[in-house]
Amino acid sequence: MTFRSPRFSIITPVFDPPHEAFERCIATVQAQTFDDWEWCLVDDKSNDPWIRERLLALQAHDRRIRVHFRNSNGGIVEASNDALALATGEFVVFLDNDDELHHQALELVDETLCKDSIIDYVYTDEDKITETGKHYDVFFKPRWSPERFLAQNYCSHLSVIRRSLVDTVGRFRAGFDGSQDYDLFLRVAEHARKIAHIPQVLYHWRALAGSTAKDHDEKPYAFVAAMKAVREALMRRGVQADVEQAGEYPFQKVVRRLTYHPRISIVIPTCGTMKNIFGEHHCLVLNCVRSILDRSSYPNYEIIVVADTVSSPESLQGLHSIDDQRIRVVDYDQPFNFSAKCNLGAVLSESEFVLFLNDDTMIIDNDWLEVLVGYMEDSDVAMAGPMLLLENHHIQSAGHANNPTPHNFRNGFASDSPGEFGVLAIARECEGITGACMLVRRSSFNEVGGMSTIFPKAFNDVDLCYKLLEHGYRIIWTPYTRLFHFETASRPDGVEPTEVELLDQRWRRKFGVDELCRLQ
């Protein structure tokens, strides 16, 4: 007789679970619509005697259930590793002893795995349930986002990983209690050939008193372990960076230490507009350039101002009067076309990176260029952009979102809130960055044909971002540096109907679908 290993091994360390919650957990496994599974339960020397009896009864009832009783309490890592040692399935499924699986969880995971044989890791959406069974806090997760994953363990539940890969990376490690799963997932992500996301809530995480699901502050040691896990992950990957807490929030802020300072060309298209800022009348481009020169600590940059020949003479005179070798003023004598002006600035520069900056912006942080260029150390990142603030310090743009149509995410919202699931407090992949401030890798910019001149006023940034995404690049938005953006002063108001039509013709399929930011 040959032994055929099951598709899934469900891994559950057991330690004094609440009776009712454990019974519901059991019921959800038994109710699975997909039955090619085994359940590996390891009791970590629970104190309640009913648990032993219940586990033995379970094992006696179903041959797919395998139980092991530890002689001493070893903690979650040892118990989980013992459960992994029992496993014989192709994939391991992690289930906590008081949580619930959606009844189709394994069926839908199997369906996804069948679509592509190189998928090594699948994660799904999740929600939380109270002790009384009330569901809340649905987490609609993004597709695989490596930068975001360094900031938070957003994959978490439900995670299904190829067992051979879990064995290869050395299973759970001691010293990461509370974030042992995060540490494992980080190591798995480094070796996984493909990571897939199922955009459906297939896991219900029970929020009990004392659990992280209820409050992150319940297990402060878990956050310390998470920081340690990320630090080690970066070391393994050869990334020189510090890991800090993201403000007061339980997320990791990765601060890259630059190994060198590549040259950046800051391209500022301008019409020489004047505007009231903070109660004073300013020439926008002069205000912008002065803020760069006064604030920026980055040692290797130049400024290329592309000015319409119709610009006000005082703005041009003001620019020429600034005695700084790093500034170049280029005349643009064609009819207004924001994209053409940006392209002209870009081809005139020879830097590795080009930063497009609207003249109606103002620098806040000294290290803004260091922060942005840090993300470009990963060669598949083509673009990075900061949090943009309105004059009243509310958000102007936290990157682009596609749902229902492309727009500035969280426009008008308070900038001191972390947002749902930390979306405003962490650096993350997104569908686009607003053209008011975007750092672009020159080679990628050239590869996709720069900014499309068929969009003279609006959507040129949206189009550029879609082109980069189509080429497999990542775009990173970060809240760790902020700029003021006094909106729509650097170009004529309004949108040409032809621009809407052209965007529709090229990218309509992307509207309403945002796999990187599924919040609304």
Partner: protein
């Protein structure tokens, strides 16, 4: 075979044309060339994007024609659509879970009834009489096991 002759379009003749230009004219032509390449690449990718867009639309229309689900892209809000999927799934999940729990409680009740019945049998007079009658048999059994 005769040697190649220089035409007006040969590289040599182009070099001659370029050599007559000033540095600023050359720079200007270079700039124009770079910008043209950007525009051409964009146009190429734009056409590709339009082809992909049309292909997607056709696939969606075909799906609609055959009564299949249309991509959520055409819904006003995918969040609403996802929420609906979640709610539907969730209701099904709860129903299934309740059924599983009910089944478990029925089988628990059955077990309890059986154990009560068993206990009643053990306590009954007929059981005591039967046990008493079987005492010699048990002694013989014990004896034979020892052998």
């Amino acid at each position: 075979m005769s040697p190649p002759t220089h035409s007006h379009h040969s590289p040599a003749s182009k070099d001659d044309v370029y050599s007559s230009l000033t540095e600023s004219e050359l720079r200007s032509r270079l700039l124009f060339g770079d910008l043209t390449i950007l525009e051409l690449r964009d146009a190429l990718l734009g056409v590709q994007a339009q082809i992909d867009e049309k292909t997607f639309q056709i696939a969606s229309l075909e799906a609609q024609l055959h009564g299949k689900h249309i991509s959520y892209a055409y819904r006003t809000s995918s969040r609403e659509a996802e929420m609906q999927v979640h709610i539907d799934n969730h209701l099904a999940h709860i129903a299934r879970l309740e059924a599983a729990l009910q089944e478990a409680s029925i089988s628990n009740r059955k077990l309890a009834v059986r154990s009560e019945q068993l206990e009643a049998i053990h306590k009954s007079r007929s059981w005591a009489i039967a046990r008493a009658l079987l005492v010699p048999v048990r002694i013989i059994k014990r004896f034979t096991r020892k052998l």
